[in-house]
Amino acid sequence: MSALVPLGAFIALSAALFFIGMAGVLVRRNAIVILMCVELMLNATNLAFVAFSRRLGLLDERGSVFVVFVFVVAAAEVAVGLAIVLAAYRNRPTVDVDEVKEMRG
């Protein structure tokens, strides 16, 4: 890691991305956008993983390896998430999550 950029900056960026994504998930109503925001949160954690991995590089490479797992899980999540959105859209032509209330107890 370049000594010019301190670890704290990476962590700050990661945290900022995570909370932006989280805010998006909570406030947006468009299902596609919510999925994109989830991706943002996942990648924020990826950034934190690689930053720590780079810092501890000689001692521990497991952070980098974990990022690969996150990619795989994210891909699967998107596949399932988009499938659900598509199915809901076919049922009723909207992607607004507040309109989809069939699961109300």
Binding site: L26, I34, D98, K101, M103, R104, G105
Partner: protein, 649 residues
């Protein structure tokens, strides 16, 4: 099996389990396939199975005779229960007593199966009938062959079940299923006694096998006086239920609602003798148990005279026979009670023949006339000669007319009561003999004698087919010869020498052999009593002198009492059945209000939680996401708080 036993050559005794299992196989086949495919064949299948069983049964009897005096062998099929010190084998005890019973049961069962092929031919439920009848034989043989009380109890309960099913065979009508229920419940009371007896036996002796229990009986009586008496009385309670003795006799007359072959097989010849067999088998136990034996004798004698008086006035031909059976069973208990178990077994065998014959003859009459009330019969001797003559033989045997079978065995019982020191019981026995002769004369004369009282019924009557009359003839041969063949000379006949080892009690004082003149005098007294009974019967019903109707008017309340069977059923209803109903009603209310109440309150609570909890499920993704985030925040705060020491104290 011990190695020494394995070394000897095989004989019929090794096949003893087949005797019981062949009827079971017939029952299984008829039960599984009878309704759909084998309906017409159920009768022949069951009959052939019983034929195999009877041949084996007789072969075993001869094998045991061949083994001589000390014949007693146990054949173990497998160990049924083995828990700690408690061992119960599926083991057959083959000794003179059980071989004697097996032969009697299988031969009589075979004849009754043959007869049933004719009697039940047109019944819709014939496949059910021929499932339960061989099943009954299987359980009866299990009961007889068992070498321990627990296995015996299996047979004991099994015959009770089959009895219940067959009494209620025509369950479409009300009377049969009510009678079946009554029989079952009354038998339960007796079975409760049997169960107590088995439990106490195990606790006292540490085993339930006969060969462990009997040798120790005298020892236990010395160590714990009272306990053995209690065990014996508990078993005797079981016997009173199964063998219809006072106070548990009243199910048997009602059991006549079943088909007549069932009445003959189960409720005259075999099942009801199980109690006698139990007491005879446990002779060692009863002999050591002090007053228990006297209780048996007194209950038997009272039952004998009590039931005979009721039989005097019954008008239903089968009911006369039913009360007669109760009375004769009383004689058998009297015999075991006065220390003559061999006489009891002897009477059991002769009674099996002549009473089965009387029932099958009654069945033949009912089959021909479709009527059971003797007041509407009369004159049938001309229409049904075979039935008439065979029933006359059986009636003579029941009335103890020499040389017919009943004379030898009944005379021996009554004589034993006298020579063993119970003159009062002897008097009761002789008097009951006169009553017996009277009621059987009355029943036969009303049915067959005189002129027809119902012309229509008379004209339609006909002799039964050969499949029914041949068993009658075979049983008649038994009713004539069984007494002489088995029991002549008195006290020294085949049956005595044969059964002696099975019922011998070590250390028991032999009763002094009575003088010949005493034996003859006692026999003469019995015969005179019988002849007097017959004479009065004929005088009253053939010559109307005295006129029966006038006599019953003159007797007044006594006659009413007898016709209403001493109001015992009413008494039981009032004293016990109503009480039980009230108790069961209370139990029912407890179940409905308390037990069900608790369950329902719990259910209501779950519903309440659910109906409130469902509000959390808004169906809005945003809400779920928010709650996840809120949970995350709580986790971070708590975990972070502990990690940094802010929350730690």
């Amino acid at each position: 099996m011990l190695p020494a036993e394995a070394a000897r050559g095989g004989d019929a005794i090794d096949l003893v389990w087949l005797v019981a299992l062949v009827p079971l196989a017939a029952a299984v086949v008829n039960g599984a396939f009878g309704r759909r495919w084998l309906r017409k064949w159920t009768g022949p299948i069951a009959t052939v199975a019983l034929g195999v069983s009877a041949v084996l049964g007789v072969a075993i009897l001869f094998a045991v005779i061949g083994l001589g005096h000390e014949a007693s062998r146990r054949v173990t099929l497998y160990e049924w229960i083995g828990v700690g010190d408690f061992h119960v084998g599926a083991t057959a005890l083959v000794d003179p007593l059980s071989a004697f019973m097996v032969a009697t049961v299988t031969v009589v069962s075979l004849l009754i199966h043959v007869y049933s092929n004719g009697y039940m031919a047109h019944d819709r439920g014939i496949h059910r009938f021929f499932t339960w009848l061989p099943l009954f034989v299987f359980f009866m043989l299990t009961l007889v062959l068992a070498d321990n009380y627990v296995l015996m109890f299996v047979g004991w309960e099994g015959v009770g079940l089959c009895s219940y099913l067959l009494i209620g065979f025509w369950f479409e009508r009300e009377a049969p299923y009510v009678a079946a229920k009554k029989a079952f419940v009354m038998n339960r009371i007796g079975d409760w006694g049997f169960t107590i007896g088995v439990i106490l036996t195990f606790l006292t002796f540490g085993s339930v096998a006969f060969h462990d229990v009997f040798p120790k009986a005298a020892e236990v009586q010395k160590a714990e006086p009272g306990m053995l008496t209690l065990i014996a009385l508990a078993f005797f309670l079981g016997a009173t239920g199964k063998s219809a003795q006072l106070p548990l006799y009243s199910w048997l007359p009602d059991a006549m609602e079943g088909p007549t072959p069932v009445s003959a097989l189960i409720h005259a010849a075999t099942m009801v003798t199980a109690g006698v067999y139990l007491v005879a088998r446990s002779t060692a136990l009863f002999a050591a148990a002090g007053p228990a034996l006297l209780v048996v004798a007194v209950v038997g004698a009272i039952t004998a005279i009590f039931a005979a008086t009721i039989a005097l006035v019954q008008t239903d031909i089968k009911r006369v026979m039913a009360y007669s059976t109760v009375s004769q069973l009383g004689y058998m208990f009297l015999a075991t009670g006065v220390g003559a178990p061999i006489a009891a077994m002897f009477h059991l065998a002769t009674h099996a023949f002549f009473k089965a014959l009387l029932f099958l003859g009654s069945g033949s009459v009912i089959h021909a006339t479709e009527e059971q009330d003797m007041r509407r019969m009369g004159g049938l001797r001309r229409k049904m000669p075979v039935t008439y003559w065979t029933m006359l033989v059986a009636g003579g045997a029941l009335a103890a007319i020499p040389p017919l079978a009943g004379f030898w065995s009944k005379d021996e019982i009554v004589g034993a009561a006298f020579t063993n020191g119970y003159p009062i019981l002897w008097g009761v026995g002789v008097f009951t003999g006169a009553l017996t002769a009277f009621y059987v004369t009355r029943a036969l004369y009303l049915t067959f004698g005189g002129e027809p009282r119902d012309q229509h019924l008379y004209e339609h009557a006909h002799e039964s087919p050969q499949v029914m009359t041949i068993p009658l003839l075979a049983l008649a041969v038994g009713a004539v010869l069984a007494g002489i063949v088995l029991g002549f000379p008195p006290e020294g006949g085949f049956v005595h020498r044969f059964l002696e080892p099975s019922v011998a009690v070590e250390g028991a004082a032999r009763h002094a052999e009575p003088e010949m003149i005493v034996v003859l005098a006692l026999a003469a007294a019995s015969v005179v009593a019988g002849l007097v009974g017959i004479g009065i019967g004929l005088a009253m019903y053939a010559r109307r002198r005295p006129d029966p109707a006038a006599l019953s008017r003159a007797a007044g309340p006594a006659y009413t009492l007898l016709v209403n069977r001493y109001y015992v059923d009413e008494l039981y209803d009032r004293r016990f059945v109503d009480l039980m109903r009230a108790a069961f009603g209370a139990a029912w209310a407890f179940d409905v209000h308390i037990i069900d109440g608790i369950v329902e309150r719990l259910g209501a609570l779950a519903r309440l939680i659910g109906s409130q909890g469902r509000r959390l499920q808004t169906g809005l993704v945003g809400n779920y996401a928010l709650s996840i985030v809120a949970g995350l925040v709580v986790l971070i705060v708590v975990y972070g708080g502990y990690a940094t020491g802010i929350l730690r104290r």
